[in-house]
């Protein structure tokens, strides 16, 4: 194994330009992946905030008995999807409107604004489907005049997020594929460069695993280096964006480690899939 590690490092020395090239290409693949990841992480955070504000509001018809509304509030609170229910009376509605629209407060008179029941959903139940179901159940009460829940808005957000996820996974896979191909051709060249040694190794009885090991280690190390480089690049970009554009969040340490390990894994897999094929040819 000692020898295999040494051989892997020799491969770096033997073709420094090629090795540097493959490390940087892996880094750029992962960098693109990482950039997307950052966008996704930040968008997710934004969506979570927006989602928290998802609210269904039912307006209570004028003249509804307070007992009826409070009974309804009790019922609605018992739905498993519902996080909180709040009754906003006509008076409260007026007060809130006045507070929010300070200088126009004289415009409002008691009785203009209807009372409403405001429902917030639990986390995990804020998708458009659930929102619509709850809204329909809500509407079933006779005394609910009108209902608002910004359905288009919620749906758009969700679509955006789904598209973003799909684009992310697709791009990620494409970049990983590119990295694997690059590593594969690097291995091909490395195998050709070492074909004499490989012949001799076989002749004197080295095992397949032993012959393979340096290539796998080389791929692993290149992937690891590429991953670290990509991490550095994303961090620089993140700092830059934070300074000049918007305040963003960076990967959590565990996710960063995971990203670097993913690089190493791509390197290892790229080597593993091609080393057998190329070794058979020399």
């Amino acid at each position: 194994m000692n020898l295999a590690v040494r051989e892997a490092f020799r491969a770096f020395n033997r073709a420094p330009m090629l090795s540097a090239l493959s490390v940087t290409t892996i880094a750029f693949s992962l960098f693109a992946f990482g950039l997307f990841g950052l966008v996704a992480v930040n968008m997710r955070a934004a969506l979570d905030q927006v989602e928290e504000r998802v609210e269904i509001r039912g307006f209570v018809a004028a003249g509804t008995a307070p007992e009826a509304t409070s009974a309804a509030v009790g019922d609605i609170a018992a739905f498993p999807e519902v996080g909180s229910v709040r009754l906003v009376t006509e008076v409260q509605a007026l007060e809130r409107a006045r507070r929010e629209l300070g200088e126009f407060q004289d415009v409002f008179e008691a009785g203009i604004l209807p009372a409403s029941i405001e429902v917030r959903l639990r986390e995990g139940y804020r998708d458009p489907e659930t929102v619509r179901t709850i809204a329909r159940r809500f509407e079933a009460y006779d005394f609910i005049d009108d209902i608002r829940y910004g359905e288009e808005w919620v749906e758009k957000l969700y679509n955006m997020r789904n598209i973003a996820t799909a684009v992310g996974i697709t791009l990620g896979l494409i970049f990983a594929g590119v990295a694997v191909i690059i590593i594969g051709s690097t291995i091909r060249m490395a195998v050709l460069a070492r074909s004499r040694e490989i012949h001799i190794m076989r002749l004197v009885g080295a095992t397949d695993g032993f012959i393979r090991a340096p290539f796998l280690i080389e791929g692993f190390l290149k992937g690891l280096l590429g991953g670290l480089l990509a991490l550095a690049l994303t961090y620089v970009t993140y700092t830059f964006v934070g300074q000049y554009l918007v305040q963003a969040t960076y990967f959590e340490p565990a996710l960063a480690v995971f990203g670097v390990l993913a690089g190493a894994l791509i390197g290892l897999l790229g080597s593993a899939v091609s080393v057998g094929r190329h070794l058979r040819r020399v």
Binding site: L3, E197, I200, R202, L203, V204, G205, A206, T207, F210
Partner: protein, 243 residues
Amino acid sequence: MIRFTHVSKQYPRGGPALDDVSFHLNKGEFAFLTGPSGAGKSTILKLIYVGERPTHGEVRVAGQSSAVMTRSQVPALRRRIGVVFQEFRLLEDRTAEQNVAFALEVIGTPRSQIGPKVARVLTQVGLAAKATSLPHELSGGEQQRVAIARALVNDPLVLLADEPTGNLDERATRGIFQLLRDINANGTAVLMASHDLNLVRTTNYRTLEMNHGKLVYDSGAAAPPEPAPGAPPSGATDTGAVA
């Protein structure tokens, strides 16, 4: 120790390279493998070190049969066989001793054993003084000695030599041949493919002659490894056409 039983070999692309070849090589024996170009000499050696598999028949080497040997068993067998070629096949960027050590490193020999083994075998082939020379700093004969040292360092049962003197002048040829005889005298079997009839005729070693993939002449499976007194048998007329 090496036994061919009705062995035929057909390469995927090409005609029959071996046709119903049977012979047996004993432990510690020395034998020449002769015959014109394309007769199948190299193919026989390849079948012994499992560089190729027979199409028909069975090749047994050191108790292992080609019929049942798996891919993963091949390395262990090769560790008991030394092979040298006409074109030496040394690693150009490594010194003589590094070339020999390489053969031990890649089979996982403990570090502490590598140095002494390499020194001993380089002394045996007469190259102790050139241990740190690179191949291009050595003569052809010296390079072949390095290759022989590499083949011997793991104490093989048999040394297979495919035209080992093919690239050498007469003086170097005699030197290498003498070395192979010394190695054989120490108990290692030697099977040497050679075109060089002068060389073959100077000794009474057993001769296997190939032609068109057939074993056409065997000077005697029972021949003792030591050169017997008396003139070489009719082998001279058999091989005369080749020269």
